[in-house]
Amino acid sequence: MLLTVDHVRKTYPGGRPVLQDVSLALDHGQTLALTGESGSGKSTLLNLVGALDTFESGEITVDGQALSSLNDPGRAALRRDRVAMVFQQFNLIPSLTVAQNLSFHARLGERLDKGWLSDLTRRLGLADLLDRYPEYLSGGQQQRVAIGRAMAARPKLLLADEPTGNLDETASAAVLDLMLDLVRDTGAALLLVTHSLDIANRLDRRAHLASGRIT
């Protein structure tokens, strides 16, 4: 298994548990849609899997690495080397150009494959935008850069949090297609948070989160 989530519990300070007892598994090359109401803990689960946040009990294993045993540098290394993320707000680095953003993650993990990057750039239709800064791009363009940044690192696991949530329908469809194509071509697994059933239905599996549990 590439990813296992085993009885994970997460409480934010001073609040009810967001995740009560969550378990799920994802194998290499699989795609899984995580759905649920607003506030059901979808994003929290995704952040935990991406080693962006910590949990109180249970275990999450990514590519054989148990997350609970990792300290801060360990979690940073995991983010750098094994997973990649795409967010609803795109979260490009505003001070870097498109080209710099695209290669940034791969170069951080010293995994840059220039051939792959230019292939990727072409496929994402970003060749003409390489010298631009993110703020001068449309939402769809920004998200394509974010996907490119994630895929350039050839991650084994791609995590996406409402990647089309800020896009209109046309852009949304195009971005989703591109992402699914790239995931399929690189053999990466995909964990995608969405509230849209249409999107969820296009993935291999679907898990629904409600009241802090998978149902």
Partner: protein, 804 residues
């Protein structure tokens, strides 16, 4: 409607107490330094004005005798021709450890003096008979009275607060005895009422020169440069303080955008909101200003004694060391605080007044508009060009300062563009992604930090410039002391007769005895001290000449040439080859010019023989003694015993040097204190800028963190960034500071003091300053960096959260 709105606005400060504190500190610092300098200047000027009033000076024309004194007979001649003039005799009065000024006026003719009519509480009115007839009376301030009391050689002392410090005011009949100048008058004051049909002065006494009060060198004019200097420092500090205010207000506004939007959505009109914010800022400004005034008052009180010492030492300006609280000062301080705060907030307020109701709560565009950056840079170039061109348009102190401000402000405006250019170069060369990001991110931070960096640039450049000037001055001064104070011992005899005996006694016991005789004359450029020197190798080998004819000493010794000091040379445009009229019937060619620091007046040297011919009555009581250094102490002891002299009458060269250096150091205590304070304030400005940028930093940092950099590493990078920016700014500041030093040494000093100093470079000082700057930058960045390191991931995750 207003009540709840105020409550809502004020609630922000309850939640952000540190921010409020920063804002208040910023305003207080700006106000404190500015108003401290204002208070010092006001106090000094008030002292001059008081002294002028106490001496009834500066109202009337005066008559001077170029190159000498006015004999009493000439005064009587003028009087008997109808001229209503009042005689004044002035001069230095030396006691063993202090030099006081004696001003003797013709009590019957001189304009009313408060000292004579306003005796101190409890004292009886001075009796005219006691005042006018021997032994007479001396009027001095109470503190001087204790010093002079009980001296058998002096007339009784009457205390009066209406006398300037360090001055002995008395009748001219007393003064001529104290000063040893019988029958001499320094100047005649032309009284306002003259009889009709007055014969012309040209026919009566063509040798006299009539000087209008504005032309006479008075203290206020002499010290203008010094006060301008302090004022420039104060203004600089004020500007630096405003950078802090600007940053903090910007932050507070950014943080309250949501609140503003809500208030407006709930029906608060925009212009009312703007007015409320204006009111809020004004109140904060007044509070901060009041704090600043308290701070400034104490600062001024702490600095004033040194300033007073400086002014007395450098110019003989009568400044009292006591600070008085003036209502005008409080009002102007508060006005500056309020005005400055509103000025610093104007940009933010303007944005607020323009904010559309449904503006996206997004962050400012990180790179600003390229057009405005270019405009700023162009303005910078323009100002530098204008500053550099000022000397072509006019001379003088103000032109010098205009040039300085043009170059300084211009360079500051150029700084962001220059830094952006440099950072872009670095970014292009960077290989690793993190390095690349660091450079790119620094460039992105520039607009937010540029004001603070400009402040830092100004503070650093001033530091380097003023530091270089002071250190150059110091080095030159020490070298000059070594040249000027060559004799191993300096002796002051009781009177001329003892002087002659001492000289005879010393001659076989020392290498040479150099008499020091001088007399005070009047030259068209102001007072002129004429010295007589004997022909001695001491002078040939050591005298600090800056311009000289080939056979200068031979010609001076032969009595057909004169040496002048730099001040006289510059003021009167009298250089080697020109001719100096010492007295109406005595003109000599100038054979050389020597440097002469720490003395505002003109000086000239002639051969002792010539001096004695023209001024036989000048005292001959002081001598320099050349002796093998090891024997100096022994000889001094023998001399004291032989002639029963007090210890102060025989002084070692080293003691005089130490004393001179001490005076010098005191002179620049204020300058260096202000230097350090300004640097501190600019460090604080960086801190507040970084804190302001904090909320805008997270969206920049969070993605990088998400991509796999630890918070610790990111925090370290934050620190590094701040230090790098400060280092780059410091590198820019170095040439700017050196230009500043050059202008100070070659233009301002010449105008202000009448001497030009050679510039020395002190790379070690620069390194120290650089270290200090980096430390300050690191300290300023430490707080935000620490916060970042400890930041809970959830705060970073909020950047990615869907609902924002």
């Amino acid at each position: 409607m207003i009540g709840p709105a105020i409550q809502a606005l004020a609630s922000h400060w309850r939640l952000h107490k540190i921010q409020l504190g920063t804002l208040l500190i910023g305003i207080a610092l700006a106000t404190a330094l500015w108003s401290a300098v204002q208070a010092i200047n006001a106090e000094a000027r008030a002292s001059y004005a008081r002294a002028s009033a106490q001496l009834a000076a500066g109202q009337n024309d005066e008559l001077h005798m170029p190159g000498g004194f006015i004999p009493v007979d000439l005064y009587v001649t003028l009087r008997r021709a109808g001229w209503q003039v009042a005689a004044v005799l002035e001069g230095p009065y030396r006691t063993e450890d202090r030099t006081l000024r004696v001003m003797g006026v013709d009590v019957l003719a001189y304009p009313a003096l408060p000292a004579f009519s306003e005796a101190r509480d409890g004292a009886t009115q001075p009796d005219l008979a006691e005042l006018l007839t021997a032994p007479g009376r001396l009027f001095v301030r109470p503190e001087l009275s204790a010093f002079l009391a009980g001296r058998p050689d002096l007339p009784p002392v009457i205390e009066s607060d209406a006398v300037p410090p360090d001055l002995i005011l008395t009748d001219i009949g007393v003064a001529e005895k104290m000063l040893g100048k019988p029958g001499q008058i320094s100047r005649l004051v032309v009284l306002p009422v003259q009889p009709m049909g007055l014969p012309s002065l040209d026919a009566l006494a063509p040798e006299l020169e009539r000087v209008a009060p504005s032309e006479a060198m008075d203290t206020a004019q002499l010290t203008d440069s010094f006060h301008l200097n302090l004022m420039a420092f104060g203004l600089l500090s004020f500007a630096v303080g405003l950078f802090i205010v600007h940053g903090t207000v910007g932050l507070a506004m950014a943080q309250r955008r949501g609140m503003f939007r809500t208030l407006r959505a709930l029906g608060l009109p925009l212009n009312l909101l703007v007015r409320l914010v204006l009111l809020e800022l004004t109140l904060i400004a007044l509070l901060g200003g009041a704090m600043g005034l308290v701070l400034g008052y104490f600062l001024a009180g702490a600095l004033l004694p040194d300033v007073a010492a400086t002014l007395r030492g450098l110019y003989g300006a009568p400044v009292e060391g006591q600070l008085v609280l003036r209502p005008a000062w409080i009002a102007s301080g508060l006005a500056m605080a309020a005005g400055g705060t509103l000025l610093a907030s104007s940009q933010t307020l303007w944005h607020l007044s323009r904010m559309p109701l449904l503006a996206a709560p997004g962050l400012q565009a990180w790179r600003g508009r390229p057009g405005s950056a270019r405009l700023t840079a162009l303005c910078g170039f323009g100002l530098i060009a204008a500053g550099a061109a000022t000397p072509l348009l006019g001379e003088g102190l103000f032109a010098g300062f205009a040039m300085l401000s043009g170059i300084l402000v211009g360079a500051a405006l150029l700084l962001p563009a220059s830094l952006a250019f440099l950072l872009a170069r670095f970014e292009r060369r960077a290989s690793g992604p993190v390095a690349q990001w660091v450079w790119a991110d620094m460039r992105a931070q520039l607009p937010g930090l540029s004001l603070a960096l400009m402040a830092l640039l100004l503070a650093l450049a001033t530091n380097i410039g003023v530091g270089t000037m002071v250190a150059s001055f110091r080095l030159t001064f020490i070298g000059w002391l070594d040249q000027r104070l060559t004799s191993e011992l300096y002796v002051t005899a009781r009177d001329d007769q003892q002087g002659a005996e001492i000289a005879d006694w010393l001659r076989p016991r020392s290498e040479s005895v150099l008499p020091i005789r001088r007399t005070e004359l009047w030259h068209e450029t102001g007072p002129l001290f004429l010295y007589g020197i004997i022909d001695d190798r001491t002078y040939r080998q050591n005298w600090p000449l800056i311009d000289a004819a080939p056979d200068v000493w031979v010609r001076v010794a032969a009595g057909n040439a004169v040496l002048v000091n730099e001040q006289l040379a510059r003021r009167g445009s009298l250089w080697t080859g020109d001719r100096l009229t010492i007295a109406p019937d005595w003109t000599l060619e100038i054979a050389g010019v020597y440097s002469d620091y720490g003395n505002p007046t003109g000086q000239a040297l002639v051969s002792m023989q010539q001096f004695d011919t023209h001024f036989p009555e000048a005292p001959n009581r002081r001598f320099g003694i050349r002796v093998v250094p090891e024997k100096a102490t022994e000889l001094a002891q023998a001399l004291r015993e032989q002639f029963d002299m007090p210890p102060q009458a025989v002084i070692h060269q080293a003691a005089i040097k130490a004393q001179s250096l001490a005076v010098f150091e005191k002179t620049f205590v204020v300058t260096s204190a202000l230097n350090i304070l300004t640097l501190g304030v600019s460090g604080f400005a960086i801190l507040t800028s970084l804190l302001t940028l904090w909320t805008q930093r997270l969206p920049q940092i969070a993605p990088v963190w998400a991509l796999g950099l630890t918070r610790t590493r990111l925090a370290r990078l934050e620190l590094l960034r701040s230090v790098l920016l400060a280092a780059l700014t410091a590198i820019f500041a170095l040439p700017l500071g050196l230009i500043l030093a050059w202008v100070l040494l070659s233009i301002i000093n010449v105008e202000a003091f009448g001497w030009r100093l050679p510039m020395h470079l002190f790379p070690l000082d620069w390194l120290r300053l650089l270290g200090l700057t980096l430390l300050a930058a690191a300290a300023a960045a430490a707080l935000p960096a620490m916060r970042l390191r400890r930041l809970p991931p959830s705060d970073l995750l909020r950047v990615f959260a869907n609902e924002r």
